[in-house]
């Protein structure tokens, strides 16, 4: 697909039409891969010799954590597109993605806490990864709150886009600051069991299916929510025109 064809989807009407065509397929695919992946992971994987059955949490924890970061990254890209090319769909897609990112971050944090309880003996530790995710959660909250607070849609899109870009830089900085800070506190804590490196083949295939499911779910939800925003915007515009007579 060449780039010019891609920009056509920046047209709200065209976007809505494409979404209507694609959305059912993406949703079904997302549902199928989620069900397959999670059922496979839950029922048909062996226990890990060290972690016991808790290893099954990986099928929720890793995909949601990945999507929490990917969602912010997608918001960063769409914010840049909005600021540079002023495509309304792009700004609305960023707005639509933020609540999904919040839920993904929540799932990652919740499953992590539940998993950490038996494995590390604590619900919460100020481990660099956990801390970074909490900070990411705060960034999401601020971003959504700013969208909610501003009346004028274009102003809101501009301000949130700038916040997203500045926030990305600071989130990145925080990631490294937190790494540094925690090493300073307790050297080489045993908490940073690298989850991905330990994964054996029995677990990796259903894990990939789950990741695919989460990605597809994210895409489907972004499509759906962006279309919702377009409809809302259009209703508002029509109502305003009605009032003018």
């Amino acid at each position: 697909m060449n780039l010019n064809a891609l920009w056509e989807y920046a047209n709200p009407v065209k976007f809505s039409r494409t979404v209507s065509l694609v959305l059912p397929w993406v949703s079904v695919l997302a549902l199928v891969s989620l069900v397959v992946g999670l059922v496979w992971g839950f029922f048909f994987t062996p226990d890990d010799y060290r972690q016991g059955s808790t290893v099954k949490i990986i099928f929720l924890h890793v995909p949601s954590a990945m999507m929490a970061i990917s969602a912010w990254f997608m918001m960063l890209v769409t914010s840049l597109i909005w600021l540079i090319r002023r495509h309304h769909v792009s700004a609305l897609a960023a707005k639509a993605a933020a609540p999904i990112g919040i839920v993904m971050t929540l799932i990652a944090l919740a499953t992590g806490a539940i998993w950490g309880q038996p494995m590390w003996g604590t619900w919460w530790a100020w481990d660099p990864r956990l801390t970074s995710f909490l900070i990411l959660f705060l960034f999401y909250l601020g971003y959504v709150a700013l969208w909610e607070a501003i009346e004028n849609p274009d102003t809101a899109a501009d301000l949130t886009a700038v916040l997203c870009i500045v926030g990305s830089v600071f989130a990145f900085l925080s990631r490294y600051a937190v790494n540094f800070w925690n090493q300073g506190l307790h050297q080489g804590a045993s908490l940073s069991l690298d989850k991905e490196e330990n994964v054996a083949d029995v677990f990796s295939t259903p894990l990939y299916v789950c990741i695919a499911g989460f990605v597809l779910l994210f895409v489907a939800l972004v499509f759906l929510r962006t279309r919702t925003e377009i409809h809302k915007r259009r209703t508002k515009a029509l109502l305003a025109r009605e009032r003018l007579g």
Binding site: L38, F42, F43, D47, G52, S53, T54, K56, I57, L60, H61, S64, P99, I100, V103, L106, I107, A110, T111, I114, W115, Q117, P118, L217, L221, L224, R225, R227, T228, E229, H231, K232, R234, T235, L238, L239, E242
Partner: protein, 50 residues
């Protein structure tokens, strides 16, 4: 039906429950908002054309 989860049954089950609940909530909220927005738009457009 449910596989033998050993002593970590609570842990595994509760994390699946929490996650699936959150996902279902997110999907439900999104679908409801979408439906509401579409119906409102159709009403306004219908008034305009009719």
């Amino acid at each position: 039906m449910i596989p033998d989860l050993g002593k970590y049954a609570d842990t595994v089950l509760s994390s699946y429950a929490v996650s699936i609940l959150l996902l279902v909530l997110l999907v439900a909220v999104s679908i409801r908002a979408a439906r509401k927005a579409r119906i409102e738009l159709e009403q306004v457009e219908g008034r305009r054309n009719g």
